[in-house]
């Protein structure tokens, strides 16, 4: 099929940026979206044009590196998939596809479709960890955990940190990412010792970079891992409780 790409080009943070149109003829329907971009880039290189910079790594939906705003939807039109999992069979001959980078104050622009998502690292550094005793790995299932709790924590742990929630949020908020990174630890016994300091530290760090949640639900709809808004409620509740909690009683559930 023959497509037209409308791509955001911006050489760096100082550049104003603009859309440029590139014809993309002869695209096969079984290609992935990123393979299509690779082919367009190869042709641009041969034509002496600087190829389009975009982030990608595993190309199987688990690393969270790729992330494009495709026709106004983070990771494109498919539900519960990352950009790399989107395939060209979605498109028809003659389509024009608009591709933009994530846009948020917390994600400063680097080049073309690449943004700096290190704010996420700062949030995880602030509290997205647990303290464990060093040494050999403990036996599996040493700590009993209710099945429902384990599964719910796993749902949160599915977060790949791609930033689609921030990109999707009309407020440029990162609440879904932070809620997922907070919850997958705080729902489990191993996450309890730092639970209250984690809630405070992660939220306070988040608010350095991102907007506030007003419960639109766009993040949940955009999330390639279908992470639920329920985790945001948990994060909000625990942040409020952290302000009141008598930390001397923090050892009691």
């Amino acid at each position: 099929m023959d497509l037209t790409l409308r791509v955001w080009r911006q050489s760096g943070p100082g550049d104003k940026g603009r859309f440029e149109e590139y014809p993309a003829p002869g695209i096969a329907s079984h290609m992935s979206f990123l393979e299509m971009l690779d082919i367009v880039n190869e042709r641009l290189t041969l034509a002496g044009v600087e190829p389009i910079a975009f982030d990608h790594d595993c190309r199987e939906g688990i690393c969270g590196t790729c992330g494009l705003m495709i026709d106004g939807r983070p990771h494109g039109p498919w539900e519960g998939t990352a950009t790399c999992q989107l395939h060209m069979r979605e498109y028809h001959d003659g389509d024009t596809i608009t591709i933009e980078p994530w846009r948020a104050k917390g994600f400063p622009h680097i080049k073309d479709l690449v943004v700096d998502r290190r704010a996420f690292d700062r949030i995880v550094e602030a509290g997205g960890y647990i303290t464990v005793s060093a040494g050999s790995a403990p036996d599996a299932n040493l700590i009993p955990i209710p099945k429902e709790a384990a599964e719910y924590a796993m749902d949160a742990a599915a977060c790949i940190g791609c930033g689609a929630c921030v990109a999707a949020c009309p407020n440029g908020a990162a609440q879904l990412f932070v809620a997922a990174k907070y919850s997958h630890l705080s729902l489990l016994p191993q996450g309890q010792p730092e639970r209250w300091s984690r809630a405070e530290a992660m939220v306070d760090t988040m608010e350095h970079y991102f907007g506030s949640c007003s419960n639109h639900g766009e993040c949940e709809a955009a999330c390639p891992k279908n992470i639920s808004l329920d985790f945001i409620a948990l994060l909000n509740r625990d942040y409020i409780r952290a302000k009141w909690k008598n930390r001397r009683l923090a050892g009691q559930s």
């Binding site: 933009e100 948020a104 704010a119 766009e218």
Partner: protein, 236 residues
């Protein structure tokens, strides 16, 4: 911006510390919203006495001043409630304004193209709906509490004042439109407040939506029935 930053340190009086955070502001917005919803419900139910008789609603108005009976001086309890409402309204508006400004700053560059998948009309018009509702409340107070609305106004005669005000078609229409906007505002707010406070349980999450539908429907239908009844000649 990518150099390591320390979390915001908050060392003020606990309430200001809490209120400085966006999550804290959303909690305050939810709690004050709940207070205002409670007031709206009571206000609407009280005004239904208009359908009983002019004397019933006028006596109801008078009894509000006598709240607390002989235990407190006259109108004191009413004033405490009024001050509570003013404080709740202030914090509701203040948190909404500061959070909206924060959110605008958080997306300095707009997308050229954006398709919303979940955000609805209600959630996206909270701030402007809120501004219109606030303007309406000022008009409403001027009209039926202070008597500056232009209609014939007699203090202590709510029935006659209401009929005089709603007999004017533009005023009746303004009341109806403002209340429909209020319904849209409540539809998002009455659901959203559960998320902001962190009340989330699969056993009743479905019920939170119904609560929002129910609250908005009951308050809006009750409120717009008054100008409609006056215009239709059912009350008057």
């Amino acid at each position: 911006m990518t150099t390591t930053r320390q979390p915001i340190t908050r060392r003020r009086f606990w309430f200001f510390e809490f209120y400085r955070s966006a999550v804290g502001k959303k909690w305050v917005m939810a709690v004050t919203g709940l207070i205002l919803i409670g007031y709206l419900l009571a206000h609407m139910v009280g005004n239904l006495k208009m359908y009983l008789s002019p004397e019933a609603i006028n006596a109801y108005g008078e009894s509000l001043r006598d709240l607390g009976g002989h235990l407190v001086p006259r109108t004191h309890l009413l004033w405490i409630m009024r001050i509570g409402l003013v404080v709740a309204t202030y914090f509701h508006l203040h948190s909404a304004t500061t959070l909206t400004l924060l959110n605008r700053r958080s997306r300095p560059d707009k997308y050229d193209e954006r398709h919303y998948a979940a955000a609805n009309y209600a959630s996206r018009t909270m701030i402007w709906g809120g501004v219109i509702i606030a303007a309406f409340v000022v008009f409403h107070l001027a009209d039926l509490t202070w008597g500056w609305g232009g209609a014939e106004f007699v203090r202590g005669m709510p029935y006659e004042n209401m009929v005089a005000s709603f007999s004017r078609l533009p005023v009746a229409l303004f009341y109806i439109i403002a209340n429909l906007l209020l319904g849209v505002h409540l539809y998002h707010g009455a659901w959203s407040l559960f998320q902001s406070i962190g009340i989330n349980n699969p056993r009743f999450n479905e019920w939170r939506r119904w609560f929002a539908y129910g609250i908005s429907a009951v308050i809006v239908i009750g409120n717009i029935s008054f100008p409609i009844a006056v215009q239709a000649g059912i009350v008057g």
